[in-house]
């Protein structure tokens, strides 16, 4: 939603390690992070901040980290999965990497790597991202034609 970027971040996790020098906070163990309508879960979430203290990058990994967000008040929830999810807050871009999957409206995307531009609601999926075990990760979609 519009106000997500400036909403406060609440995080629940088992442990927290701060690395002031790098400016990052690493939460591990059933991490559940919320910001406005956006929700992010995973085994480990690393939040990086800029020098001024603004959150610049949230990276979550897990046996498929999960992210959901309400793109607009009337649109259904957009849900995304990936072994690694990187939320570039400044660019408003979510990157789902490795067994990436995105459900957007009635369409679903899977593939090696999916980029989801929140504001422009543009999605780009590719199959040649890093794929573990050489498993065929071509981009698959299911489209529902307008009836």
């Amino acid at each position: 939603l519009e106000g997500d970027a400036s909403a406060p971040i609440e995080i629940a996790a088992d442990r927290l390690e701060l690395d002031d020098q790098a400016g990052t906070a690493v939460y591990t163990g059933d991490v559940d992070m919320r910001q406005g309508s956006m929700k992010l879960t995973g085994q480990q979430v690393t939040i990086s901040r800029t020098d001024q203290g603004d959150v610049s990058r949230i990276e979550a990994t897990g046996n498929r980290a999960y992210i959901e967000q309400k793109p607009s008040p009337d649109a259904p929830l957009a849900k995304g999965w990936g072994r690694t999810i990187i939320y570039h807050t400044l660019e408003r871009r979510v990157e789902l990497i490795n067994q990436a999957e995105l459900h957007r409206g009635q369409d679903t995307f899977t593939g090696a790597k999916v980029d989801y531009f929140l504001d422009r609601r543009v999605v780009e999926a590719t199959s040649n991202g890093e794929s573990d075990g050489g498993q065929d990760q071509r981009v698959r979609m299911t489209l529902t034609p307008q009836q």
């Binding site: 369409d107 422009r120 609601r121 543009v122 981009v139 979609m141 489209l143 034609p145």
Partner: protein
């Protein structure tokens, strides 16, 4: 013009290699590969797989990198696909492959609807696997209702790489569900050479006999080029029609047509019929293949024929038949017969027949006549009409072997002739009532049979000699008893021969028949002839066919036959019979019917000898199935007094299930042997000695060879020579037959007026472009016994 076709491997074509099924004519087949993508879970949804996908701001989706799109049964393979925001259709950039149930379309670009089956492909190459169709089109569009519209397109059933034939059209519409296609500005190309053009043509595209385009029939004969283009209309499931415009270079333009109908009722009821005909206005035909005819016999006249046949069954016991045939002249089929079978048509039947077959009684009512197709037609050759003929037959069998038989017929004979130009006994018309009650007793134990029988033939006439003044009686009647005693024994023994177990029978038989002579000099001749002697005549008391004459007879026949029956199957392998009859009195009744005078020995020796000989010919019959392939038949009639062979026939036949057939035949008949020809013009004028060889050979899967040679050894001339080749390939068939034969002008007694006629007959069959299995020319199956022509 349509784009160039693609190579075979891009059309799902799989050559057989070495596991070709037997008789396969095509060198391979189209195989639909499995789908490369499972359908989406909910029907109607589109699932895709690609290297890259992009979901644009405007809501459009673009896929790239070996894109696979699947919607229910259709699948698209392409380098790039774009789906608009409205999600109604997908733009596909080629080279693409669109697959659907049993259909492949490759093209450069396409638009595929996502809401219906509609799609359109540019620069398309298509294959319908099941129907073995392929072709190319500048643009192929599949319409919502499943039909295909092709612009600037081609269509063929030939294997990829073969240019045997194709149909090219600017606008082709294929309706696979209804099974036919239409094309505008269509032309047929054989090896890329245009052969025929239609402004608009409709053609079937599957096996159902569909409206449309049948094979063109091309033949060359004395009348120059003869090109017929049948055009078939499947008007409804139970009736259809064929229109056949036909161009004959020396005669003009002839329009032929045929209408067929069929109605199946409950419990075998129902009826079926056909009406066919043809019409040619003012025949330009100058030359006639019959030198005996005046040259311009039919020039300027209208030539036509019509032939209606109908048969039906009212219930289990009653069926009926109707027929009416007429032709403008007796030479119509000689000039216009579409195939050899038709050009030999000797008559056109006219019939209304109704018959009832009960357990005891069989009733039949018929009105019957013929138009005899002979030119010029002599008055005496005109057949009588039966207007009507009522027949009632019955038989009662008692357990003790007694039986009674009743056979009766009442017929009114009529014909329109100049009485003065026909023999007196054929000059009358009138009615005839014939009653034939018979009483007999038959014992039929397995070891023999005995049958005494007495029959009373009572015949009465009411005659009218028209404007012929004659003092002949016009009301006549005659009652003649026919008594016979027939008996035989069956002896048996086991016999092993040729390495198999047989049962051999030995069957002596005696038959005595006595018929007194009755005066029949003033009796007419409507349907009667004296029978030629044969094995059957040994055991039959009737010397005449038909009813107008009852021949006097006092004869005892003795015969001995032996049969070889296979032990395990009971199949008859060999049947040998020898028999001879001994006359105790001369036979006075011949066609003249005078019981007191014999034919004059000097002027009519053959008839005199036949009437006075003491013994019948010694008849020998052999019917031997040598093995599964070879069989032989032999019939020999030898005159023991004059020590001369009166008639002789040997046949050797080879049948091979693979389609090879060989027949060898020899026939000899002594001049004057056959008394059945009442008209001297029809009696054999020489000793007939003929050699008859005919064969059919399946040289290879594709090639059938047929041939026949009939040689008249007495007059050192070939009566018929026929050679034919039939090429049956994957997508087309060709039938080329050359035939040369002697026409005897219906005068068997002289060969002076015989002439030779010949014809070449070429037929193309474009498989898939016409109903399969159009009946081949019935003539070949008649001329070459054992030959079954392959249905294309």
């Amino acid at each position: 013009a349509p784009p160039a076709p693609l190579p075979a491997e891009q059309l799902d074509w799989q050559p057989w290699g070495d596991d070709a099924p037997s008789g396969a004519l095509c060198r391979g087949r189209y195989v639909m590969p499995p789908y490369r993508l499972p359908p989406a879970d909910t029907p109607g949804d589109v699932s895709s797989s690609s290297d890259r996908a992009r979901y644009g701001e405007d809501g459009s989706v673009s896929l790239a990198g070996e894109v696979l799109l699947r919607r229910d049964n259709s699948q698209v393979e392409a380098p790039e696909v774009r789906v608009g925001p409205a999600r109604e259709s997908a733009q596909v950039t080629g080279p693409l492959a669109l697959r659907d149930q049993g259909l492949l379309v490759r093209g450069d670009a396409a638009e595929v609807s996502l809401q219906s089956d509609a799609a359109s492909v540019d620069v398309a190459h298509y294959v319908a696997h099941e129907a073995r169709l392929r072709g190319d089109a500048q643009r192929l569009a599949r319409l919502e209702d499943g039909r295909y519209r092709l612009t600037d397109a081609s269509f063929t059933t030939c294997e990829p790489g073969s240019q045997a034939w194709r149909l090219v059209g600017s606008d082709i519409l294929l309706d696979r569900e209804a099974g036919f296609g239409t094309a505008t500005h269509a032309r047929l190309e054989v090896q890329d050479v245009p052969v025929f053009y239609w402004p608009w043509v409709r053609f079937p595209i599957d096996d159902r006999r569909q409206s449309g385009f049948l094979w063109p029939v091309l033949s060359a004969s004395g009348d120059g080029l003869d090109y017929a283009q049948p055009y078939y209309f499947n008007l409804a499931p139970n009736y259809d029609a064929t229109l056949t415009p036909r161009f004959i270079s020396d005669r003009g333009f002839l329009l032929g047509g045929e209408f067929r109908y069929l109605q199946q009722g409950p419990s075998q009821q129902g009826y079926a019929g056909t009406i066919e005909g043809a019409y040619l206005a003012n025949d330009q035909g100058k030359s006639s293949s019959n030198p005996n005819d005046p040259p311009d016999a039919f020039e300027g006249e209208d030539r036509w024929y019509v032939d209606y046949r109908h048969q039906g069954r009212l219930n289990q016991r009653m069926d009926y038949r109707l027929a009416y045939g007429a032709a403008s002249d007796g030479r119509y089929f000689d000039d216009f017969g579409r195939d050899f079978g038709e050009s030999d048509t000797a008559y056109l039947p006219r019939l209304a027949l109704f018959d009832y077959s009960g357990d005891t009684w069989q009733l039949e009512a018929r009105a019957q006549g013929y138009q005899r197709l002979d030119y010029p037609l002599a008055e005496r050759d005109k057949p009588f009409y039966r207007l009507p003929s009522l027949t009632a037959n019955a038989r009662w069998d008692q357990d003790n072997g007694f039986y009674q038989q009743w056979r009766s017929n009442a017929t009114y004979f009529w014909r329109d002739v100049i009485e003065q130009q026909v023999p007196l006994r054929e000059a009358a018309t009138g009615s005839r009532v014939h009653l034939a009650p018979a009483l007999g007793w038959r014992a039929d134990p397995s070891w023999g049979f005995l049958e005494p029988r007495v029959e009373l033939l009572h015949t009465a006439y009411e005659l009218d000699y028209g404007n012929l003044n004659t003092d002949r009686d016009t009301t006549l009647s005659r009652t003649v008893p026919v008594s016979s005693l027939d008996g035989g024994l069956v002896f048996e023994r086991d016999l092993s021969a040729f390495g198999e177990g047989y049962r051999q029978t030995l069957e002596p038989r005696l038959n005595y028949a006595y018929v007194p002579a009755e005066d029949q000099q003033e009796f007419p001749d409507f349907d009667t002839n004296e029978r030629a002697f044969s094995w059957g005549q040994l055991w039959s008391p009737y010397r005449f066919s038909g009813v107008d004459r009852v021949g006097d007879l006092n004869r005892l026949s003795a015969g001995l036959s032996s049969r070889l029956l296979e032990d395990d199957s009971g199949r008859q392998r060999l049947d040998v019979g020898v028999g001879q009859g001994f006359y105790f009195e001369d036979r006075y009744i011949d066609m003249n019917g005078d019981p007191d005078t014999l034919p004059d020995r000097d002027t009519n020796y053959a008839a005199w000898y036949r009437a006075t000989r003491d013994r019948t010919p010694l008849v020998t019959n052999i019917d031997w199935q040598i093995n599964d392939y070879w069989s032989t038949r032999y019939a020999w009639l030898y005159d023991t007094e004059r020590e001369v062979t009166e008639r002789n026939g040997i046949d050797l036949a080879y049948r091979d299930p693979r389609g090879h057939v060989l027949n060898l035949g020899y026939r000899w008949e002594l001049q004057g042997f056959d008394p059945s020809a009442d008209d001297p013009e029809d009696r054999l004028g020489y000793n007939r000695e003929e050699f008859d060889v005919s064969f059919a050979l399946q040289a290879s899967k594709q090639v059938d060879l047929i041939g026949r040679y009939l040689y008249d050894n007495t007059n050192d001339r070939s009566l018929e020579r026929l050679a034919g080749v039939q090429w049956n390939d994957c997508c087309y068939g060709l039938q080329l037959v050359w035939r040369e034969w002697v026409e005897d002008n219906d005068t068997a007694n002289t060969i002076a007026d015989d002439y030779t006629d010949r014809g070449i007959f070429l037929r193309f069959i474009f498989k898939g472009l016409g109903g399969v299995g159009q009946e081949a020319d019935s003539y070949f199956e008649q001329a070459i016994p054992g030959y079954r022509s392959t249905a294309f």
